[in-house]
Amino acid sequence: MRGLFFPLCWGLIFMLLQTTIFPRFLPPEMRPNLLLILVIYLGLSESFVRAAFLTLLLGALQDVFCGSTFGLYATVQVAVFLLVRLISDRLNVESRRLLLALVGAGTVLQAFLLGFLLTTFAEAGPVLWILLSNLPLQILANLLSGWLLLLCLLKFQPLIGTRQGMAGLPYQSKHHGA
């Protein structure tokens, strides 16, 4: 239960940050997508069933605050999670650089999926052009946020107690075997 509660709380905090604090100081294209980072992190460190359930809930949570069609981000986040899961068995998930590289790749993949779904199934006008023009700054903002979040996690993890399954940390992942 704790394993579900904490990621959901973090998801909610990230959403509040993205909807209230970031818009005051950052233009839209510079606002990082913290939930994407959380989903990638969960995909690398949690068990499949728990991570899948959390991804679905976090995607639905993001849908409440993004765009106009409920289910869009749930679909996109689940797709990102499944792809992360698919390749994570072939990569060294202990590497911090890899985690950041996955955040960058996840941002590109998310933009592609959003563009595809919005232009194929919904009449969303010039959304593809908006997504593409925002992409370089989005990647930069997400990489910077991912790096900062990882630094915070490394700094505060000894205080909140260690647990297995932390991607990018010197502890062996539970999913990938101790």
Partner: protein
Amino acid sequence: MRDFLKRHQIPLLITLLVLVVGFIYSANLRKKTTTTFFERAVLTLTEPLQNGIDRTCAGVVALWDNYLWLIDTRQQNVVTIKANRELRARLLAVKEVGLENQRLKKLLDFVEADPRKVLPALVVAEDASSWARTIIIDKGGRHAVQEGAPVVVAEGVVGRVIKVAANSSRVLLVTDASSSIAGLVQRTRTRGVVRGNGRSLSLEFALRNDLVEEQDLVITSGMGGVFPKGLIVGEVSSVQRNEFGLFQQIELSPVVDFSRLEEVLVLLEPEK
């Protein structure tokens, strides 16, 4: 059966997951202005938090701007005094026009075209994505706000309500890529559809033969039934007429400064 489920647990879960999200997305594609139970619950739960954070941030920013960062204040004061004098002179002229307007209205037995009530609301949050343009306001179903209600400010159109919770609502801004409004060029009466481009707007399906010029104002035409007629949407910033084709390409700059939106007005349905 159990063995089969156990052996194929992951592929089955993936299939189930894909089917669930596919179903949720497709079910909501045509119901953009329907608020689901989940959305209503999350919006209701987060509204006090967003309101609290917004007020705290506004307080901190006000403290910084009003008491600490006063470097430009003197210069602004001089400019303001000068502008104030000019505006006072203009105000006298406007008063005269207002009186004349009243007289003419009386003569024409003018009836207020839009009997809707106006509900002031505070903007408490913005869209969490980089591509969509929505805001969250602190008024909802309890204040008689309904999906589809137009949202305006003194300068012009802001957007329309798409999701309603008890104490908060989400508003789709006119600059969002999925927003479209029936518009009218004020001077030439050219009709078209105003679409959002993220930051700016464009007027589509405006006939090529109509001579629209830069700085012409575009207003709502009242078609479609969402927005009342005559609200300002934007100002023409560029016009491109090709040698062939039925329509001209018109770019608009919004009259509302969406980056500084703090208070808005929701136009409520008239009581029956």
